[in-house]
């Protein structure tokens, strides 16, 4: 997302306004090498090896981590050598996946208590998108 560049305020807002952030294939591989397959639970792999990660899950995970651990996590992700701070980065990766599992549970609960068939169908489409990462035609 940043590749060591500093984002301007507008660029930052543009990134936040997206539904998904795309991690490059190289970035995905680097994170899999460091954190294992839990990296894959952050989002959906595309055919080229890139990964789409929901922005709202990242934001929620970042908020839950706390500022000190977040700074450590970012430093760790930027550097290959800061092994001592690896734990914070790993926690961030795990939380991005956990946030989405929680959201899936909430969506399923909402669907199960939805009396309106049309609304229930829309909710199922959201669940389908979250699980498979694509919109399937009806």
């Amino acid at each position: 997302m940043v590749d060591g560049r500093m984002l301007s305020f507008i660029q930052f807002l543009e990134e936040l306004s997206k539904d998904y952030i795309t991690l490059s294939p190289a970035e995905v591989q680097r994170m899999r090498d460091r954190f294992g397959d839990k990296t894959l639970q952050m989002g959906h792999l595309d055919g080229d090896g890139s990964m789409s990660v929901p922005v709202n899950a990242i934001v929620e995970a970042v908020r839950s981590l706390g500022s000190r651990k977040l700074i450590e996590a970012v430093d760790s992700l930027k550097s290959e050598e800061m092994v001592s701070m690896l734990e914070s980065a790993e926690a961030l990766v795990e939380r991005v996946g956990e946030v989405q599992k929680r959201k899936l549970e909430q969506l399923v609960e909402k669907l199960q208590s939805e009396p309106d068939e049309a609304k229930a169908h829309q909710e199922w489409k959201q669940i389908e998108k979250m699980i498979f990462g694509v919109d399937y035609p009806d």
Binding site: D37, G43, K101, G133
Partner: protein, 54 residues
């Protein structure tokens, strides 16, 4: 919840055969062909296609 198991499985980039397959998630099954998931089956409906996918 079995839908969580399904999401974890899908996101784990599973290897699926280039033919019909079936994966049992407990309360439901998912059948597909190659990389394309086809349909959900209820628990008591019989699987068809290759089974035992990791």
């Amino acid at each position: 919840m079995d839908l969580l198991r399904l999401m974890e499985w899908v996101r784990g980039n599973p290897e699926v055969p280039d033919e019909a397959w079936c994966k049992d998630f407990g309360t439901f099954k998912l059948v597909g062909h190659g990389a394309i998931p086809g349909a959900f089956l209820e628990q008591e409906q019989p699987c068809f296609g290759k089974r035992g996918l990791k």
